[in-house]
């Protein structure tokens, strides 16, 4: 496995605010990455810098081993589908697909046609007259049919209904299996995509909070449910991410792996363990007060 994206100390400053602060990570070939974080966390800025559409204030970016700025050998291997993508005023769906075909060497026209039909896209309609969901669907079609070695989806499902979103996820997994490539999915609908993600990068307030294998990540915290008083006793001395109670029953989400002693203790107290979903974990990690967040080191 070789790193196809390497980011070192990436920083982007707008005036006095840091949109991205000292972010470093590597992406390996043929994996599906989740770039997660709240709106305004800096995800889109990072993706814009990866594709040389915005300029870093500091740090280094290498994509396919080279700097992406004005670099054709990099840019032709990249497809970035963003929510804010603009189209020429007169462009129809067909025009977008035709230009995409010219820009992406691996473009599969037959697959693009099949996808436009699956998403019920009217080929002749102008982009400006499409609904938000249809606009997103065009992005999905381009992103999938381009088969770019690095495909980036930034909030690709805005306005898509559950059926269309499900179709996007299924198609992506299907095509990914046949044509492996590196995919970055940037989203805040974490639960929906969590089954696809192999690796998670979590950005919060411009900082990289997490860079972890998805499976290992969900094993890094757990929930424990039981009588409120016993939960408190169990949780004391542990790093509690959140605690909820309903009547006499409480649950606590605890950071850390379940050790043998924890199992024994829980059994003694009549407590039950429950897995934490990726979404829960991320929400916990990004919800806390600033000071606490620094302390959370996984």
């Amino acid at each position: 496995m070789s790193a196809i994206v390497q980011v070192k100390n990436l920083t982007k400053t707008y005036g006095k605010t840091d949109a991205v602060k000292d972010v470093s990570f590597k992406l390996e070939e043929n994996k599906i990455y989740g770039l997660l974080g709240r709106n305004g966390a800096g995800k889109t800025t990072i993706m814009h810098m990866l594709t040389a559409q915005q300029f870093p204030s500091g740090g280094e970016i290498e994509v396919f081993g080279e700097a992406p700025f004005e670099n054709e050998s990099v840019l032709r291997r990249v497809c970035f589908i963003k929510e804010s993508q603009k189209y020429p005023a007169t462009f129809s769906v067909k025009d977008v697909l035709e230009v995409s075909a010219m820009l992406h060497p691996n473009w599969d026209a037959a697959y693009a046609k099949e996808l436009t039909e699956a998403f019920n896209l009217p080929m002749k309609r102008r982009m400006q007259k499409l609904s938000r969901g249809m606009l997103s669907a065009v992005g999905v079609v381009v992103g999938l049919a381009s088969r770019a070695p690095l495909t980036i989806f930034d909030e690709p499902y805005l306005g898509l209904d559950a059926v269309a979103r499900g179709m996007f996820y299924d198609r992506l997994l299907e095509d990914y299996a046949e044509h492996p490539r590196t995919v970055i999915l940037s989203t805040h609908l974490i639960d929906e995509v969590s089954r696809m993600l192999e690796h998670v990068l979590l950005i919060d307030q411009g900082k990289l909070m997490l860079d972890e294998d998805a499976e290992r990540l969900t094993g890094k915290a757990y929930s424990v449910v039981g009588a409120a008083a016993r939960i408190d006793a169990f949780a004391s001395g542990k790093q509690v991410l959140s605690r909820d109670s309903m009547g006499s029953i409480a649950s606590a989400t605890i950071l850390g792996e379940i050790g043998a002693q924890d199992r024994r203790e829980a059994a003694e107290r009549g407590l039950e363990f429950a897995p934490v979903s990726l979404q829960q974990l991320i929400v916990h990690l990004t919800n806390g007060k600033n000071g606490e967040k620094e302390a959370v080191a996984l």
């Binding site: 814009h48 559409q53 004005e70 054709e72 970035f80 007169t90 462009f91």
Partner: protein, 232 residues
Amino acid sequence: MNTVANGRMKAVTSTILKDKWSWFLLPWIISGSSFVVNLIISFFVEDKIKTGGVASLYIYMFVAGIISVSNTLPFLLGFSVKRSDYFWGTGRAIGLIGIICAAGLTLLSVVESDWIRGWGSELYFFHLPYYSEGSIPVQFLNYFLVIVFLFYAGFLIACIGKRFGKNGLFAFFLVSIALGTVMSYVMTYQGWWIDLGDWLADRTMLELAGATAPLTLLCMAFSYAMLRRTSA
């Protein structure tokens, strides 16, 4: 510069030329409607009419240069196109459009002056004194150079706007106006306006149109410098 047009540059050219309405029809509809109005008037007027209505086509090209950038640049940068490919791909498109417009204007000038003199009602719209002087190739070259110059003047303004935002564009115009005012004051003070007028009167259309070429190159160079640092 990559002189051989690569596929991605072609995608830029094709993106621009897909808007056939704006590039191949609208310039003629605009100048054509001015022509029709003048033609109708010319039937009611005894005198010979010489009108500068064809200027509308040139003004359109200037405006098109401004609009083209915001219409295509964000789209193409978003689709991983290099800024230099955007620049040269646009150049190819405008070169082609310039050739078509100049050829059309030359043809109409010849029709008006030689084939159907004054459209049968003494209207001179496409063949004007001074502006249309010279042989057919010279006329073609003149029209082409002025069209391309105006496009790139508009293109530069749009690129400044993209690079430095609204405030940057505002500052640019403010400085330009200030410089223009100072220059104009100096010229008045030194009595240079008359000299300039005399000098211009001595120049042929070819000399004036030819003088736009270095200005066009300057606009292109500055636009390119702006584009290099423009974010999507």
